[in-house]
Symmetry: C2
């Protein structure tokens, strides 16, 4: 049996490339997305397309109400998404989001007998979210291997972060090489129901400059 | 301002005592429960009563579909709950459940500015679940303090486990001393809609012997 991987898939550029990398490593991939009350829920349509396009064995969307916790411009509609640079950790940070997502991926990995959890976090061209840093990922992996039956029984789980040290340009170039169709991905925090991006939020700005630096035409559909 | 605590509250005996302890320490308590597709969903009614009875400032129930992951007799109705002792980690273990619950508690704690997360795990009279052990809790705390904005900004979060070294008898005696009304708690994995316990599952067996050892009348309503 080939190695199995649960791959966190938002529908954006990074997670699509991460899925392509996991497949390229020979993993049987199980894509996992969350319907968590996000403002940019249209990303779930993109995630479904990406999962199919990159040959995921399954694509699961878990419903989870992070709106009831709030505290972020992505889950509280009364907080505006910034359309220019801000200092510090941005208001688009969702409290404990990657911890929650990785925890649910851990549960599914345990049921599937998957040895790997892939997550497209990146600590170069990123927004300064604390749960995208390598020290967080390393600590999560230690915790995961104390949390689960499979690990206690001798089958450790690895948290794999292939993008961690890549620039946005590297990520885009790797995705292109591995056959990712970026036209079906969505990065925008304010994407509309038609899949059109605002072009102004931080996620759009980072994506735009990535395509520019890679010398590629930006395939994003903007409002 | 008194110290704030998010308290994981299942509606059972342990989490009720944990809430009473957090209150006794002077914390303003925010109780958190999960509607996660559990077989014994009637425990949520008990949790609401316990939260009110012990003066929680708020009681939040987050919806979360762990049924879609399955892998446990508590979330997959086709797997029977064992009614006699089994060896190893029991089939009632829910993959990564405490990791997921603590992660969501972490998100809420961050939004509230709560310094403490209380969880009633116990490593004495327990079922051998890996995510009830002190080494798991310690690793979660390390991870949590790398995951969050508040921690990165210098306000660490503590995971508090007041029951970790107590026997079931100790827990019951502590609860009684702190005014917990055990008649409103529910421990049974197969509790019916009327709140009546099976008396046969492991959770019932541990609870029964706890009352016996404490020399107290068991207030549980059995089928």
């Amino acid at each position: 049996m080939s190695s199995r991987a649960v791959v966190l898939l938002s529908g954006g550029l990074d997670s699509a490339t991460t899925l392509a990398i996991a497949r390229d490593k020979g993993c049987a991939c199980y894509a996992l997305s969350f319907d968590y009350g996000q403002r940019h829920r249209a990303e779930l349509k993109a995630a479904a397309k990406v999962a199919t396009s990159l040959g995921a064995i399954a694509h699961k969307i878990i419903s989870l109400d992070l709106k009831s916790i709030g505290g972020s411009a992505l889950t509280d509609m009364s907080i505006a998404v910034p359309e220019h640079e801000t200092s510090g950790i941005p208001i688009t940070y969702v409290p404990a989001r990657n911890t929650v997502f990785l925890s649910l991926a851990l549960g599914w990995a345990e049921v599937l007998g998957a040895e790997n959890i892939y997550i497209g976090v990146n600590a170069v061209d990123y927004s300064g979210y604390p749960d995208c840093r390598p020290e967080f990922i390393a600590a999560f992996e230690v915790m995961a291997n104390l949390a689960t039956k499979v690990a206690v029984e001798g089958n450790p789980i690895r948290i794999v972060t292939p993008l961690i040290d890549m620039s946005k340009q590297d990520i885009i170039e790797t995705g292109v090489r591995l056959g990712v169709d970026f036209t079906i991905t969505t990065s925008c925090y304010q994407v509309d129901g038609e899949g059109r991006a605002c072009g102004l939020c931080e996620s759009c700005r980072i994506r735009k400059s990535g395509f520019k630096e890679a010398g590629l035409k930006d395939p994003t559909r903007y409002l």
